[in-house]
């Protein structure tokens, strides 16, 4: 039985910061889900704020590296999806407030 939870994975990913906006990916609402199976393999489902993001591959690598730092973690798969498309309503209130979207 795996003791790693979805929250553990989100906490690990929250160390990854978008250098353009200065917020971490979790508070931006870019991480849609993290599925952990009984062998501690993790499937992260995420999106990006724009489809033309030149940091696309780098950000997914950072997510993978952040999750890898969790003790006893198994295989990690990071999937980028475009549906549903990201919008500001998915971000935390502090992000909206700082960006002036509230």
């Amino acid at each position: 039985m795996c003791s790693i939870t979805k929250e553990n994975v989100f906490d690990a990913i929250s160390t990854v910061i978008d250098p353009e906006v200065g917020f971490n990916l979790v508070e931006m609402g870019l991480i849609y889900d993290a599925i952990v199976d009984e062998k501690c393999n993790v499937h992260v489902i995420m999106t990006l704020s724009t489809q033309g993001c030149p940091l696309h591959q780098m950000i997914t690598t950072w997510v993978k590296e952040a999750v890898e730092r969790i003790e006893d973690i198994g295989e990690i798969e990071v999937e980028v999806v475009w549906e549903p498309a990201w919008n500001i309503s998915m971000a935390d209130d502090n992000v909206k407030q700082t960006l002036g979207a509230m």
Partner: protein, 411 residues
């Protein structure tokens, strides 16, 4: 899932010379403005020299550097032969310099400068077309890259014909060829490129989402058609046809501005950084330039045309470029020097890589310079024009210092 290839980014050492040289040419253009009077005709050799210093040295140089980085992002495919940019840079640098010297001092060297620029642009356009063939997607931005490169080739061919005409080696109607050349380069290449890249960059930096692209699709079709009609009208000396083209183009750019308004309404990021302020100023001056252009067509008063072109070049095009430099250059430097350190040590945010005060000074002096200089041209006031040129030069010095600091950050 739509795959995005973003590991095709060319190295900073390939792109940074374009940006460094472009900013130096911008600075030189502003120095040169101090020696001009607000009354002139476009056929003057010194005016043609300034236009080429600004358009080739600054605008084209920066666009070429930016395209080296952005084409793979837009096309989601790697460059066909990215190393050609190492050849394009010295050719464009030398060609543009020779052309300016040719216009100002030694007309005999104009064809040689023109030839170097021609070769640089043929290599650039050919490489872009070869890269276009690698992509499997079809977006509006990709269509603009394809069409703008076609117009670039037409523009440079007509320009080279003019250079041969000036030096007496080709017997052509220089005045008509000049109109075809200007329209192909500015309308066909620069404006189409800006339209295409705006659709990627402006929503990306402003975090705007969920907008329809109907208006910009119409803008693209109208501008492509309008430029073709003006070009054909100029080549075949059919002035009525050129007016039809002007009208179609005007409607096209109005659709483009409408699209930007739609995107601006959905902007999530309300912070007015130097990029956001530059965009507001760029589109404000663009609208003003269009209004002046329409008044000129009705009044035929030359000073109104001069002011319209001024606001288009130094207001719209210049601000679009300088505003984006404060986004693109920190990103390129960060990508090269700090991206590998993420997760290992603290890395800077992009906005920390330039002085906000310096950027504000650049923007404020530039705005004052564009407005004063533009009204100097409109009212044919030497003192207003010179004041504008002085402010622009001060803004250019701040841009030059800012660029040097950004490129040196973390070295």
């Amino acid at each position: 899932m739509k795959a995005i290839s973003s590991d095709f980014a060319p190295p900073l050492k390939l792109i940074s010379p374009f940006f460094s040289a472009g900013v130096v040419f911008y600075l030189l253009s502003m120095v040169a403005l101090l020696f001009f009077e607000p009354t002139f005709i476009y056929q003057q050799m010194d005016v043609a020299g300034w236009i080429h210093l600004f358009m080739l040295g600054f605008v084209m140089m920066i666009i070429f550097g930016a395209m080296a980085q952005l084409v793979p992002v837009v096309l989601e495919a790697g460059h066909a032969v990215v190393d050609v940019y190492y050849v394009i840079f010295p050719l464009l640098l030398t060609g543009a310099s020779l052309m300016v010297i040719g216009f100002w001092v030694v007309p005999q060297i104009l064809p040689y400068g023109g030839l170097l620029v021609l070769v640089a642009m043929i290599i650039f356009a050919t490489e872009n077309i070869a890269t276009l063939k690698k992509t499997t997607i079809s977006t509006l931005t990709i269509k603009t890259v394809a069409w703008s490169n076609g117009y670039l080739l037409l523009g440079i061919l007509t320009g080279f014909a003019i250079a041969l005409g000036f030096s007496g080696q080709l017997n052509i109607n220089i005045s008509l060829m000049l109109k075809a050349h200007v329209y192909a380069v500015i309308g066909g290449y620069v404006v189409l490129t800006i339209i295409g890249l705006s659709l990627i960059l402006i929503p990306m930096f402003s975090l705007a989402h969920g907008f329809k692209e109907d208006a910009i699709q119409k803008a693209f079709k109208l501008v492509v058609t309008g430029v073709a009609i003006v070009f054909i009208g100029a080549i075949f000396s059919q002035e009525w046809l050129m007016y039809v083209g002007y009208a179609i183009n005007t409607i096209g750019v109005l659709f483009y501005i409408w699209q930007i308004y739609i995107i601006a309404k959905l902007t999530v990021r309300k912070e007015l950084d130097v990029w956001a302020k530059s965009m507001i100023f760029a589109f404000g001056t663009f609208i003003f330039a269009i209004i002046l252009g329409i008044i000129y067509l009705l009044s035929a008063k030359e000073s109104i045309l001069h002011a319209s072109v001024w606001f288009l070049l130094l207001g719209f095009i210049s601000s679009m470029i300088t505003g984006h430099l404060y986004k693109i250059v920190p990103f390129l430097v960060w990508f090269e020097r700090f991206a590998p350190l993420v997760g290992k040590e603290k890395v800077p945010m992009l906005h920390e890589m330039y002085s906000k005060e310096g950027a504000s000074m650049m923007f404020n002096f530039t705005v004052a310079g564009v407005v004063l200089g533009g009204f100097g041209l409109l009212f044919e006031s030497d003192i207003l024009f010179k004041a504008g040129a002085s402010f622009l030069l001060t803004g250019a010095i701040f841009l030059f210092i800012g660029m040097r600091k950004m490129l040196a950050y973390g070295k």
